[in-house]
Amino acid sequence: MLKNKFYATISIIGLTIGFTVGVLILIWIQDELSYDNFIEDSGQIYRVNINGKMGDNTFYAGYTPPPAGAALVDNFPEVESYTRIYRPNAGVIESKTAEGQHLFNETDIYAVDPNFLELLTYPLAKGDPKTCLQSANSIVITPQIAKKYFGNTDPMGQILYYGKDKQPLKVTGLLKDLTNLPATVKFDMLMPVQNFGDVTYFNWSWVWLNMATYVKLTSQTTEDPKTLTNLESKFPDMLKTQAASAFERIGQPYKQFLKNGNYWNIHLQPLTDIHLHSGEIVSAISDQGDIQNIYIFGLIAFSIIVLACVNFTNLATAQASRRSKEIGIRKVLGSPRSQLIKQFLTEAFLYTIISAVFAVLLVALILPLFNSLSGKTIPFHSIFSNGIWLILLGLTLLTAFLAGIYPAFYLTSFKPVNILKNSITSKKNGLLRNGLVVFQFVIAIVLVISTIIVFTQLRYTQQRDLGYDKENILVINNGEKLDAGVESFREEIAAIPQVEDATSSTGIFTKGSFGDFYVPQTTETDNMVAKDISLGSYLVDDHFISTLNLKIEQGREFDARFNDSLSVIINEAAAKQIGWENPIGQKIRYPGGNMEYYTVIGVVKDFNLESLHSSILPFALFSKSSQSYDTGVSFITLKYKTDNPKELIATIEKEWKNYQQDVPFEYSFLDDDLNAAYKTDLQQASLFGIFTALSIFVACLGLFGLVAFTAQQRTKEIGIRKILGARVTEIIKLLSMDFLRLVILAMLVASPIAWLAMNQWLQDFAYRINIPWWAFLVAGIAALGIALITVSFQAIKAAIANPVKSLRTE
């Protein structure tokens, strides 16, 4: 081993990287797969999802109407119990301690049914899950919240004040730290749902989809898939009786609704499937990943491990003829074949075990970085739990076995006479070695092409014209907390010299919108009921369009000179879906409200509300004066022109304090909010990029070792050629061309694979790039360049060596 220090180093570095990446991805996958497993009886718990079609719109959501849970328990003995969770708008929480008043705006308060912690057994450090949420004036908090409001004092029994009315809530439960808990639903505080008027108000509604409902089935039901299917098949009939009055109330008799080709179906989804198998099912309550990422990263991990293993085998085999003499002599001296095989396997095991130990140390070292890149909080000890260390051990042994067995059998099968006569050239296993080099570079090049395309797509999505200005836009939250003062506050802000314009609205891009169904009609008397249309909307003031620089394509914007309370501005997508060629003057009826009619006064160019993952949907802007609905939130958005936004923000904050002292001033920049929507994408792309770099590094290590080996093997030939007049450049060319040819072959194999894979990946984006041809060119040049550098380092060394010396080694 010491004799081959160079090969030992390369082998061990390669394997260490392979194992490290393997372990990191394994613990990542392990973490992804373990979501919600901590919940007791998680196998019996299901989320109630709804799959609906109304007019042209279909959806599948992890939301349930408020009465669904109770109806399921009442109608079906298979359903043991239910619990619901609702995410209200942000609210202000306050504490008064000896040190003074603490006041923060909290976004992660969740409203739950009193039995929530009994069914979904989030771990409590203090308090009783059965009783802690029974009283309306109770609150359960995390240790972080306890620290924030009460410092180091025991929070149990302390009082927190909630909302505008400063409703006192007693801390009745302290959760354990949820940071490292793989849970699809995470929260800072839990409050009983009866405190939230909007939920109680909609208790009748089978179409208000803002809550998630979880049910626990009896163990007999979940044991037998037939019982489960049977149970689900009874849901439609239940809906016919239960939901009828609710549909009647919104002007859509349920029978008629179904007859028109619509549907409204309830499905059960296993709790442990929510994180990875939600697919199209939308939810803002649960953290839903994508099983596809597991496959992609699993594949990458597997590839890198295989690369490292291939390298190891490759290097070991490459030394075959170097060591064949040693083996020949050993065989002549009477060493049995089994002993030689044992010797080879022992060496391989030694290498892999050293590498595995290094890998574990390396994982410990880079886990924090990996966590921040992947957005996880995986602790180091998780490597020793959940059988990951067993997998690593298995992997180590398997690698050692595979990487040791081939050279072992290959080398020991030589006839000693031939070896000593030097009639075995390494050419015989050249095909295998070359095949392995090609294989490595195929993987590396596929990853490089993919990385380029992933980043190109991400840049495209971030730079694409969204249909409005996103630069120099400041969004102020909590406008609703100003009550009637919001307009005068807006006017004060707009009057600041650095502010170009300011608007107040019930929604702003990236922060959700109100959605409901509307009925387009040509005239109020037109009874040819058109198909319903689902419209997202904001209620906005007269300054919205000018502040955000939305483009009016037809008609006009809201204007103080008109009474716009029954006016609406729709986007092009809405006009197109309804089928209006000339929308101005047309009307839409709002059955969800008071059946009032809105007249279209303008058409605005399409704009994207969220990330470009989602396509442009039909959207409408109603005037604030319409008071069409109440979402309970309001934003003030302003466009500024200053190089010193900090100063501006300070000015605005001062103004805010004049209006509202009890609510902290909160703001964000619109471009930051938009970028946040790509955070996951960026995280994944960065991980992808890192793994790509590693795979290239591993592939190059292999190439480096092989070239060194080849150069060494061809020392004599190089010497002869030099004596015969070959120049250094000619020798380098001679040594490099063989390998570069392999890399070119790898490019040819890799390109179609990468194309297919990336084409598939891009399908997830509503707005996607065409796969750029230059990605293949760049990847090819990069692979060739890196290979050339790797190869030429050794080639130059071999080429400038004194030919006299190389012949003397004969």
């Binding site: 009639s423 010497g719 002869i720 004596i723 007049g725 000619e730």
Partner: protein, 231 residues
């Protein structure tokens, strides 16, 4: 053709500096066949490497064809070498992965000869060496004598002015060895200068002059047959 004066070469290891050539001087005329003899380690091979422009002397002068070449860099030496000098080695030094034909063709490739001319010249020299019928074989498929004939063919294919032979019969039996010596004599008679390092008194007798070396110095010089320059 070759004049060396006070030629010096050292090999230094960490502790000792070994003198391989110690102020060696002699002259070789064009068309001469010179044998260099001496015990192992006397500096014969070092001398041959310097004469073959494979190595640079540490001191003294080396005039080749009227040009001072001591101090030439690698590239200049290589250019001069590939046009003027052919090598024949004891261990043949053929490239195993190339056929007889490809081995012989190599020097022509490195001197930039066009493919058509290369083929003609290789064919001619293989014919002359009587190994035309083995041109598609690999070196390991040939006997030692045949391999050395290929090596000689490779050495002369470029029509060098000088052939340097390092124990050319060392790995051959006597009949094959004689054949190779006859070949060298023929080449010499055709005008090529030959300098041959050998342990064999028998082989040395083929030459015009024997230079005997010891410890990097010339000790004696026997003239076997008077060589008369054709010029």
């Amino acid at each position: 053709m070759i004049t060396i004066t006070d030629l010096e070469k050292y090999y230094a290891t960490e502790e000792v500096r070994t003198i391989a050539l110690n102020k060696l001087s002699f002259k070789v005329n064009e068309g001469e066949f010179v044998a260099i003899m001496g015990p192992s380690g006397c500096g014969k091979s070092t001398l041959l490497n310097i004469l073959g422009l494979l190595d640079d002397p540490d001191g003294g002068s080396f005039v080749f064809n009227g040009i001072e070449v001591a101090g030439f860099n690698e590239r200049k030496r290589a250019d001069l070498r590939k046009h003027n000098i052919g090598f024949v080695f004891q261990s043949f030094n053929l490239i195993d992965e190339l056929t007889v034909l490809e081995n012989v063709e190599l020097p022509l490739i490195y001197t930039g000869v066009k493919p058509a001319e290369r083929k003609a010249r290789v064919d001619a020299v293989l014919e002359k060496m009587q190994i035309m019928h083995r041109r598609k074989h690999f070196p390991q498929q040939l006997s030692g004598g045949q391999q050395q004939r290929v090596a000689v063919a490779r050495a002369v294919v470029n029509n060098p002015k000088l052939i340097l032979a390092d124990e050319p019969t060392g790995n051959l039996d006597s009949s094959n060895g004689n054949e190779v010596m006859d070949l060298l004599t023929e080449l010499n008679e055709a005008g090529t200068t030959i300098i041959m390092v050998t342990h064999s008194e028998h082989d040395a007798k083929y030459s015009h002059r024997i230079i005997r070396m010891l410890d990097g110095q010339k000790v004696t010089e026997n003239v076997l047959s008077e060589y008369v320059s054709s010029k």
